[in-house]
Amino acid sequence: MMNALFFATLVAYFVATALQFSAIAFKKEGVGKSAWLMFLAAVIAHTVYIVVRGIMAKRIPLSNQFEFSTAFAWGVAVLLVLLHFRVKADWLNAIAMPMTFMILSYAALQPREITDLMPALRSRWFVFHIGSAVISYSAFVIAGCIGLRYILLNKKGREENSLKLRQMDWLSYRLVALGVLMLTVTILTGAIWAEEAWSAFWTWDPKEVWALITWIIYIVYLHLRLRGKKQGTAMAWYVVIAVPVVLFTFAGVNTLMSGLHSYG
């Protein structure tokens, strides 16, 4: 039953993405609307899946790579929905929808069985540490999607100082700011937790180091952009290129490097 719901969600994201591309290719507004409705249905199914899994596991479902990836994809999807209603960011759908689908596809490759929370993860910091990481990564990914859309629009000849592009640039900046704030929460709650669990605030574990590298990358972005010294295409490229670093911190470190964060 749970597997069926998970794969139904995955298929719904795929169909939404396919419809969105069709809407762009054939310039059919109605198809675009269907894509959005399908995407909303997928987000609802995704939310139900996470809630039910949490109830079945009797804990917040964020304890392994599958659960984190599922929550990450959900975070990206929810941010897209929020942006849709808040700033009417329909122009983002064609990039953010496939991104959600890809992250959830990565989750589908991970073991899905529900296991007990291992003793090392039974801490009051667990929810803050992992929850803030989900929000942070999602914000960075959506900022990257906006960056990509900016580059594409700019290539089409829209001027950099047009209101539309300036709004996109500003939105991307705000999302990076949210991501940095949340990543700071992740790192700092992680440090306090590490002191409680391993006796040291910082151990130079690969996951810690890559979180720090990600943080530095976005801190540099914020400084470059400070007071509008650097904006527009250069910064759009910056947030796009930074996304693989986020994805590496999220998945690559756990796959390629062993360390204290290897919880499966």
Binding site: D116, P119, A120, R122, S123, L163, R166, Q167, W170, R174, A177, L178, V180, L181, T184, V185, L188, A191, I192, W193, E195, E196, A197, W198, S199, A200, F201, W202, W204, P206, V209, W210, L212, I213, I216, I217, I219, V220, H223, L224, L226, R227, G228, V253, M257
Partner: protein
Amino acid sequence: MMKKLFQTFRSMRFGILLLVLIAALSVIGTAIPQGREISWYAQTYRDFHGLILMLKLHDVFHSWYFQLLLVLLGLNLTLCSLVRIRTVIKARGLETDLLLEQPITYPLDAARCTRVREKLLAMRCREEMAGDSVQVYRKYGFGRYGSFITHLSILLTLIFGAAALYLPKVTDQTCFPGEALNMEDGTQIRVESFRIEDGEGNLDFTSEISIRLPDGRESGVHEIKVNHPLSFGAWKVYQQTYSTAGSITVWNLETGLEDTFTLTDLVFLSLDHVNGLWYEALYPDMIRDPSGNVTLISNVSGSYPNPVYQVETASDGVYTPILAFPGDELQVGGLRFTFEDPVEYPGLRIKYTPKAASTLLVISFVLMIAGLYITFFCQPVLVRLDSEGYTVGGPKPEGMQIAIQGWLEETDRKEETL
């Protein structure tokens, strides 16, 4: 010369350069496994291992150049913070005057001016009259300090982080239940009990411990487990590892005296050093196949389900290997050996640290989160509006400029649709 050096050290460009170098070295520090034996690097990197060792790439995060970068970053943050707070305080009183001196940047008709005013009031901006028909709207005045707070908190994190990293004295020790560890300063850490599993068979790894300080103060008995250390005075005790030891009661048949020994290593229990019992090992479990062959199992998670003692009796030069189980008895060399249930015991990590360093570090963490929040989500709003148009001022005008233009465009679009 000094002025130029000062300007370099406090510049944002220098700060960014330091951050990029720290990030680049961090990448190397994760690409090359850190802190292994030198022979491992020689085997793995062959021709390059000399270069790796020479550049200390096998211990990047403790290398002098990495530490130097952190010190320089601290210096950069100090100077930035000082310059920033001075600038912020100086500009605070002048921003409104500067704004009023500027000509209108965005001319608007009266109707649109009203719309902007309504929006600004809806945003809960404070409205102030600054002359005939000129209004100034403000919000989040404290937002100008966000950047200073953030930089200061990062600096404090570096300082207190270094203190929290280098000041504590950490030791790992094992202790059997019922025994105590005596620390150098006279503090006594006593292990009352330890269990691997809880009553329902779930892995638990919990010790009951108490701490008594040299001045006689006592913590009382507390449970410690992973993520739940006991902190008392300057001591912090962590449940780190665990192990299981054999337990044998030895009865002297001649004197009638008896004693129970907890055994972890190879040991010979004897009266005359010739006849007696060699304790070799304790195994968690065993499998006996139909033909009677025994396979000892050396690894299980949790408590030993079926503990097996591997011992050897020595009697007049004859050695006989034996597998024994809890409850079994053996008699050799004038001694009777009774095999008891194994003893589970914890490995404790004991940390002695001045509490102030950790507390101040956590305070700087809180300050950093608050600083970042104020910097990005409470950006100061300063707008001048009159009947001809508006001008956005303050330290960060970009967001407001885009927001107002966005509102106007949206209302224009709505009106067109109507």
